[in-house]
C-alpha cells in the first residue's frame, strides 16, 4: 500500500527516539535478573514436574538458591555445579532439592567442568527448540503460510478438553489461529501450574501439558484441512519467560508478550516484568514465535480518539525492545485496535487512518488487530455489524493477525456458535472486499491522511518526552492507558535481583548471537 502521504521524517525521528528509550531501558535490564528468569533457566535445563504439594520443581530449585543467598550468581551455575558434583542430571538434582535432601548453595564451588556442562545443557535446550521450529517450518512448507489477515479466535471454556472441541470446530469453520485464553488471575501466579486442567474461570490454565494437548489437536485438524493452524498463548505476567520457554518447547506459534500490559493492567511491578520480558522475547525470537504486543488494551481504559497516539508511540518502543531481543520484524506482531466510539461521525475514517498508518510505518510486522470490545453491548445484532466494519478495515488496510470480534463480547466468553458466526462473517467480508485496498486511494490532504499525520505528530512528541524522562518515569506519570504505576509498586518486585559480577546465564548470549534461518 504505502498510500497515505505520511511525514517520513517524523517516522524516522520517532523511531530513533524509541531506539534511545529502549537502549536506556536495556541498561537497567542488563544489570538484573529475576526469579522467573532463573526458573526459566532451570526449565530449559530440563527441570519439570511438581512436588507432592503441587509446587513446580523450578520454583523449589530457585527458592533453594534464594534461600542460600546465591541467586545473584544465577541458577545455571548452581544447578550445573550440583550436577557435576553429584554426577546427576538437572532433574535428578531438582528432585533431591524438592525432597529436602539437597541445598544447592551448600555444595563445593568452583569445580572443574561446570562451565562446559552449562554450555552443554544450553546446547541441548536450544536443539529442542530448534527442532520445534523446524517442525513448524516443515508444516508451513507443506501447507503454505496462508493468506493474511489470519483469522484468530479464542477458546476460553476453562477446560482444556472442551477447548479442544471448540478449537477444532473453529478451524473447520475457517480459523487460522487459535488462542487459548488463560484463566483469570493466572498472570499473578508466581509459578506455572502443572498438568492437564479442567477448571478455569473465563479461560484455561496455561500449562505445558495443556499446550501439548492443544498442539496435537490443532496439528491433527490442520492436516485434515491441509493448513498449518497456529497456536497462541500468553507470556505476559509473573512467569513471562517461563511460559515463553514452555511455548518454545511445545511449538506455540505466537505469544502475547508485553511487559507494559502486565504493568498497566495487572499491576505487576515494572522492574520485574521488564527484565522478564527481555529474556522471554529472546526465547520467543529464537523459537520463531511471533510476539503479540498489547497496545490495543490502552484503548479499553483510555479513549481511542484522544489516545490513538499513545498506541503508536508504544508500538515504536515495543518494536525497538523486540529488536534488542533479536526478534526480526516478521515476528513482531504489534497490537492495535478498532475501539473508536461507534457514535462518532466518520469514526470509520479514523479507524482506517490508524490502521493504514500502522501498516505503513511497520511494513513487515504482522500487525495484530483487535476488534471492538469496549463499545460492544448486549445488542448482538449491532455488535455483529460493528465487527463487520472492523473486518472490512482489516482487509482494506492489510493487517496481519486479525482477532475476530464476537457479537457476544459484552456477555460471555464465546459460545461455539458465536465463533462460528464470527468466522463466517469475516470470511464473507474479507472475500467480498479482498482487493479493495489496492483499488482505492486516500484523497491527498483529506481527513484520513490528516488524521494519520496528526497521530504521528502527537506520537513523536510523546516519544521525545518519554526519551527525556525515561520509560519507567513515563509509566509512573500515567502516559499509557490513563493508568499510573509506581516503580516500586505492584506484584513481583521481590523477585528482582541485581546480578553479581559472576552472574551466569548461558542463554541470552546464545539466543542473541545465533539467528535461525527461516527457510
Amino acid at each position: 500500500m504505502g498510500k497515505i502521504n505520511l511525514d517520513e521524517k517524523k517516522i524516522g525521528h520517532a523511531r530513533s527516539a524509541a531506539t534511545r528509550i529502549a537502549l536506556s531501558l536495556q541498561e537497567f535490564i542488563a544489570e538484573h535478573t529475576t526469579v522467573a528468569v532463573e526458573r526459566t533457566v532451570a526449565r530449559l535445563f530440563g527441570i519439570d514436574g511438581v512436588d507432592g504439594e503441587g509446587v513446580p520443581l523450578p520454583n523449589l530449585v530457585v527458592e533453594d538458591i534464594v534461600r542460600g543467598g546465591g541467586i545473584s550468581r544465577g541458577a545455571a551455575y548452581y544447578i550445573a555445579n550440583a550436577c557435576v558434583a553429584l554426577g546427576a542430571t538437572p532433574l535428578q538434582v531438582a528432585v533431591q532439592v524438592a525432597e529436602g535432601r539437597l541445598a544447592l548453595t551448600t555444595l563445593p564451588r568452583e569445580q572443574q567442568g561446570v562451565e562446559a556442562f552449562i554450555a552443554q545443557l544450553a546446547e541441548i535446550a536450544l536443539q529442542k527448540i530448534t527442532e520445534r521450529r523446524r517442525q513448524r517450518e516443515d508444516y508451513l512448507a507443506e501447507h503454505g503460510e496462508g493468506r493474511q489477515p489470519y483469522l484468530y479466535v479464542i477458546v476460553a471454556t476453562g477446560n482444556i478438553y472442551e477447548d479442544v472441541t471448540q478449537a477444532k470446530a473453529a478451524v473447520r469453520a475457517g480459523a487460522d489461529i487459535i488462542a487459548v485464553i488463560r484463566t483469570t488471575g493466572q498472570s499473578l501466579l508466581d509459578y506455572v501450574p502443572y498438568g492437564a486442567t479442567t477448571e478455569g474461570f473465563g479461560g484455561t490454565y496455561a500449562t505445558q501439558q495443556n499446550f501439548r494437548i492443544m498442539r496435537a489437536a490443532l496439528d491433527e485438524v490442520g492436516q485434515e484441512h491441509k493448513k498449518y493452524v497456529r497456536l497462541v498463548n500468553y507470556a505476559s505476567g509473573l512467569c513471562m519467560p517461563e511460559i515463553a520457554a514452555i511455548g518454545a518447547l511445545e511449538r506455540l506459534d505466537m505469544m502475547l508478550n508485553d511487559a507494559l500490559y502486565g504493568i498497566l493492567f495487572r499491576d505487576i511491578n515494572m522492574q520485574r516484568t521488564l527484565v522478564d520480558q527481555h529474556f522471554s522475547r529472546l526465547i520467543n525470537g529464537y523459537a520463531g514465535i511471533i510476539i503479540n504486543t498489547g497496545e490495543d488494551n490502552y484503548l479499553t481504559t483510555a479513549d481511542a480518539y484522544e489516545s490513538a497516539h499513545t498506541v503508536l508511540a508504544s508500538q515504536f518502543i515495543n518494536e525497538q525492545l523486540a529488536h534488542l531481543a533479536n526478534i526480526p520484524d516478521e515476528q513482531i506482531g504489534l497490537g492495535h485496535a478498532f475501539e473508536m466510539d461507534p457514535d462518532i461521525e466518520d469514526g470509520l475514517l479514523l479507524e482506517i487512518a490508524q490502521a493504514a498508518m500502522a501498516r505503513q510505518i511497520f511494513p513487515r510486522a504482522p500487525l495484530k488487530y483487535m476488534p471492538p470490545t469496549k463499545h460492544m453491548t448486549g445488542n448482538i445484532f449491532k455488535g455483529q455489524v460493528m465487527n463487520a466494519m472492523f473486518n472490512l478495515t482489516s482487509v482494506l488496510t492489510k493487517q496481519g493477525i486479525h482477532l475476530l470480534g464476537m457479537m457476544t463480547e459484552a456477555i460471555h466468553t464465546p459460545f461455539l456458535q458465536d465463533r462460528y458466526l464470527a468466522l463466517e462473517s469475516a470470511r464473507y467480508v474479507m472475500n467480498t472486499a479482498r482487493n479493495l485496498g489496492d483499488e482505492i486511494a486516500f484523497v491527498a490532504g483529506g481527513k484520513i491522511e490528516s488524521r494519520a499525520n496528526e497521530v504521528l505528530g502527537q506520537a513523536l512528541l510523546l516519544l521525545q518526552e518519554v526519551e527525556k524522562t525515561g520509560l519507567m518515569e513515563a509509566i509512573e506519570a500515567g502516559i499509557f492507558a490513563d493508568v499510573k504505576r509506581g516503580r516500586f509498586g505492584g506484584k513481583g518486585l521481590a523477585g528482582v535481583v541485581k546480578k553479581a559480577p559472576d552472574y551466569m546465564n548461558p542463554f541470552p548470549a546464545l539466543l542473541a548471537s545465533r539467528h535461525l534461518q527461516t527457510k
Binding site: A169, T184, L188, F265, T301, K374, G378
Partner: protein, 243 residues
C-alpha cells in the same frame, strides 16, 4: 394486562432463537431442533437455518410462537430506594444531614481486573458527563483499584474509617463473582462492621435484586452514573443513622 412477544400482530408470540446442537448437521438434527422448541412450549416452529458448525455440531436459527404470557400489572422490580439527587444535591444533602465528609472505598475484588466500571463511578473525570465521587467536595473517595483481596479491602476500610464500600465484579463466568461477593459480606459481619457500613456492589451482570439476595444494601448494573450511587449512599446512611 397480559402481554406476550410481538412480531407483527398483537399477541402473536413471535420469538427469534438460535442455538447449537451437539449432533452433526442433518435432517434429523433439524427435526430435533424443531421438537426441542416444541417442548419449550412453542407453536409454529420454523427452523429457518441450519449450518454445520464443525466437529459434530449444528447451528440452528429458529422462529416460533410462544403461548406464554405474563401479567404485566403484577410485575414489580426491586429498585434502589433513593431520591435521585444531582452532584450539587448530594453535597448539599451531606452538609445538611450528615455534617461531615463521607468516606467511600472502592475496589475490584478477587481476581477481577476490570477497573473501567468502578473508575467510571469514582474517578475525578467521571463518566458520561457526570463527575466521579472523587470530585464530590463532601466525600473522601479512595479507589483501591484492581484485584484487591477482600481482607485487604476490609483492613483498609477500618484504617480509613469508611462509610461505604463499593465493590466491582465484572467477570461472572461460571458465577465466579458469587462466592467472592458472599465472602466479603461474611468477613464484614465477622468484623462486626455490617451496621456501620453501606455495602454496595456493581457490574454489568449484577442487579439490585441479586445484591440484596447476597446481603448487600444495593446493586448497580450497566448504565449506572456516579450520582445514582452517591444519592443512595448518603440517603442510606441517614436512614440507618450512620453518622
Amino acid at each position: 394486562m397480559e402481554i406476550r412477544p410481538y412480531g407483527d400482530t398483537l399477541h402473536d408470540g413471535a420469538v427469534q432463537m438460535s442455538f447449537t446442537l451437539p449432533v452433526p448437521m442433518s435432517p434429523e438434527a433439524k427435526e430435533a431442533a424443531k421438537q426441542l422448541v416444541h417442548r419449550m412450549g412453542f407453536q409454529s416452529v420454523s427452523v429457518v437455518h441450519m449450518a454445520d458448525a464443525g466437529e459434530g455440531f449444528s447451528f440452528m436459527v429458529v422462529y416460533a410462537k410462544t403461548d406464554a404470557m405474563v401479567d404485566f400489572s403484577t410485575i414489580s422490580v426491586p429498585q434502589v430506594s433513593a431520591v435521585q439527587l444531582s452532584f450539587y444535591g448530594v453535597n448539599a444533602y451531606i452538609r445538611r444531614e450528615i455534617g461531615r465528609k463521607v468516606v467511600v472505598l472502592g475496589a475490584c475484588t478477587g481476581t477481577d481486573a476490570h477497573t473501567v466500571g468502578l473508575d467510571a463511578i469514582m474517578n475525578m473525570k467521571g463518566y458520561a458527563g457526570e463527575y466521579g465521587l472523587e470530585r464530590y467536595p463532601e466525600m473522601v473517595a479512595h479507589n483501591l483499584g484492581s484485584q484487591v483481596p477482600n481482607e485487604t479491602l476490609i483492613s483498609r476500610a477500618i484504617e480509613l474509617g469508611a462509610d461505604a464500600l463499593l465493590v466491582s465484579q465484572v467477570v461472572t463466568q461460571k458465577d465466579v463473582h458469587i462466592p467472592n461477593l458472599t465472602e466479603l459480606v461474611e468477613l464484614v459481619e465477622a468484623e462486626g462492621l455490617r451496621d456501620r457500613l453501606v455495602l454496595i456492589c456493581g457490574g454489568p451482570r449484577l442487579s439490585h435484586e441479586l445484591a440484596i439476595e447476597l446481603g448487600y444494601d444495593a446493586g448497580f448494573g450497566s448504565g449506572t452514573l456516579p450520582p445514582h450511587v452517591a444519592s443512595f449512599i448518603v440517603q442510606e446512611m441517614v436512614r440507618r443513622g450512620i453518622k
